[in-house]
């Protein structure tokens, strides 16, 4: 069974993402408290609430339009490192999708790849630097591998699972980018908050398609 990913899916994805940020707000703050400055959950929650407002204000007509609007809202409401990084990610994904009404599996994998590339282009982090890249890169790889079968839901599930595993895998890492890097060795033993929020967002994408 192939799920059709249209603008309804995109809006549901963003709505579930907003719910996830609200639900996990404290958890993300706590992760950031350990190795950062205690704001990641607050920032993401504020940003996705703004996304919801914008979605209600000007309902998008295509998945690409939904992601572009998200990019703009996050860029202007999140701040910090995560704001521009997620903003770029959603913007690049939106550009990749163009104004197509439907997203098929290859397009989906390509959009996720574009998002990841945007994050890397802005943040210059490599894999293993203990950032959100460590969730996105395995997610993109898993999505690419799954895309061949043409099953969009399978692509999203593969991406979500890989992102979750990637986030967990940041635990032992020593951060080399972002605020956690100032802690040096002391950053090991904690999960990267941006990787955790990335996993939540990708899980929401799968949830919206299920």
């Amino acid at each position: 069974m192939t799920v059709t990913l249209d603008v309804t899916w995109a809006v549901k994805w963003l709505t579930l993402s907003a719910q996830a940020m609200a639900e996990h707000r404290v958890e993300l703050i706590e992760l950031d408290r350990a190795i950062g400055d205690s704001d990641h959950g607050e920032n993401m929650d504020r940003g996705f609430q703004a996304v919801l407002d914008k979605l209600a204000e000007t309902p998008p007509e295509t998945p690409g339009a939904a992601l572009k609007l998200t990019a703009m809202a996050l860029m202007s409401k999140v701040g910090g490192a995560a704001g521009p990084l997620y903003g770029t990610a959603f913007l690049r994904a939106a550009t990749a999708l163009g104004d197509a009404a439907y997203v098929d599996a290859p397009a989906l994998a390509a959009a996720l790849g574009a998002a990841r590339d945007g994050i890397v282009a802005r943040g210059k982090a490599e894999s293993g630097d203990k950032t959100m890249v460590d969730a996105w890169t395995p997610a993109v790889e898993a999505a690419m591998a799954a895309a061949g079968d043409g099953d969009t839901l399978a692509v999203l599930i593969a991406a979500a699972e890989a992102a979750e595993a990637g986030a967990v895998a940041t635990d032992p890492l020593v951060a080399r980018k972002g605020r956690a890097s100032y802690l040096g060795e002391r950053s090991a033993g904690h999960r990267d908050p941006g990787a955790a929020s990335s996993a939540l967002i990708l899980r929401a994408a799968a949830g919206a398609a299920a």
């Binding site: 703050i29 408290r33 704001d39 202007s76 409401k77 999140v78 701040g79 490192a81 605020r179 040096g184």
Partner: protein, 333 residues
């Protein structure tokens, strides 16, 4: 968590509103998007200076908006850099045509958001230069990190570059003197207690009663290492050593010594630290030509301090002494 606040999410809104009310003679506040400009901005022919960053470091940055210092300050959420949709209009508002300098503390978030805003401003025809402040010697392996953070030196960059802009230096000259200050200043901080971010509601790290954090930043992030509590002189020595060796302070150097409170430390204690730091400099044969002691770049109610040493040249000293009229720093006016 006990704070003099209402809704934790309204902290920045209400605080900036109060600031605008208290200093209506100096500044204009834009509520949405949020930024603070010098009342007479844009000043014809003058290079505009914009800085900003997360809130919670007051008086930085809004407290330094005014004659001889910043033209605009852009406050983000607490400890969260502001967004391009604030930075851009602030930049446009203070551009008189002579271009705008962004003074950016080196944190990933600040760098990215100011970068985007600078690009957008440039697209609108405003020339923008960026002075990146990264004076924190606590960050050792800057190759394997996001680089050194911008901390106490920011205040000195803003004052001196601000004075250069006020006397009519052009865009490149203002940026150059800002860079020169940054290259000649080093800072290191210590926390005796954590701070509590309003929306987090809990201290940003946990310290035992007899522990202190050496090498903290200004965002309540833990420092580089944790040691047992010590007398002030010992702590001061620990802060001064990396500053002086990294800066390479030599006998005969003239310096500005800046002891900054993190927000929750009594001023009297800052002078105890100042005393020792001045002794250490005297022992090195350096002359303290100028000094600054007080809460200028803070971390909410954190207890602790940072020490900054700036190696002065005559131009920097003259610009330091130049008139300034802001809420938090004033002289000659």
């Amino acid at each position: 968590m006990k704070k003099l606040i209402n809704d934790p999410r309204a902290v920045v809104d209400e605080s900036v509103e109060g600031f605008g009310l208290a200093h209506a003679d100096l500044v204009t506040v834009s509520a949405e998007p949020k930024y603070v400009t010098r009342r007479d901005a844009p000043v014809a022919g003058k290079v505009g200076l914009v800085s900003g960053g997360g809130s919670g470091h007051e008086p930085l940055h809004a407290g330094f908006v005014g004659l001889g210092m910043l033209d605009a300050a852009v406050p983000g959420a607490v400890f969260t850099s502001p967004t391009p949709d604030q930075i851009l209009p602030a930049t446009l508002a203070v551009n008189s045509g002579a271009g705008v300098v962004h003074i950016v503390k080196n944190y990933t978030g600040d760098v990215l958001n100011f970068e985007t805003a600078a690009e957008m401003a440039q697209a609108e025809g405003v020339e923008v230069r960026t002075v990146l402040v990264n004076d924190d010697v606590a960050v050792e392996d800057s190759l394997y990190t996001a680089g050194r953070r911008g901390v106490g030196g920011t205040v000195l960059v803003e004052k001196i570059a601000g004075a250069a802009a006020e006397r009519g230096d052009d865009l490149d000259a203002v940026a150059a003197i800002g860079d020169r200050v940054n290259q000649n200043v080093r800072t290191m901080g210590v926390a005796l207690s954590a701070c509590t971010v309003p929306h987090a509601g809990k201290p940003s790290f946990d310290l035992e009663d007899n522990e202190i954090e050496i090498g903290i930043g200004i965002h309540g992030e833990p420092g580089r290492h944790r040691i047992a509590m010590e007398p002030a002189d010992g702590i001061t020595d620990r802060l001064m050593e990396p500053i002086l060796s990294d800066l390479g302070v030599a006998s005969g150097d003239k310096v500005l010594l800046f002891v900054n409170g993190m927000g929750g430390t009594p001023l009297g204690e800052l002078y105890i630290v100042y005393r020792r730091a001045a002794q250490v400099l005297a022992d090195r044969g350096a002359t303290v030509e100028r000094s600054l002691v007080g809460n200028y770049i803070t971390s909410l109610e954190m207890q602790g301090c940072s020490i900054s040493v700036l190696r002065l040249d005559d131009d920097m000293t003259a610009l330091w002494d130049a008139p300034v009229h802001t809420a938090a720093l004033r002289r000659g006016v």
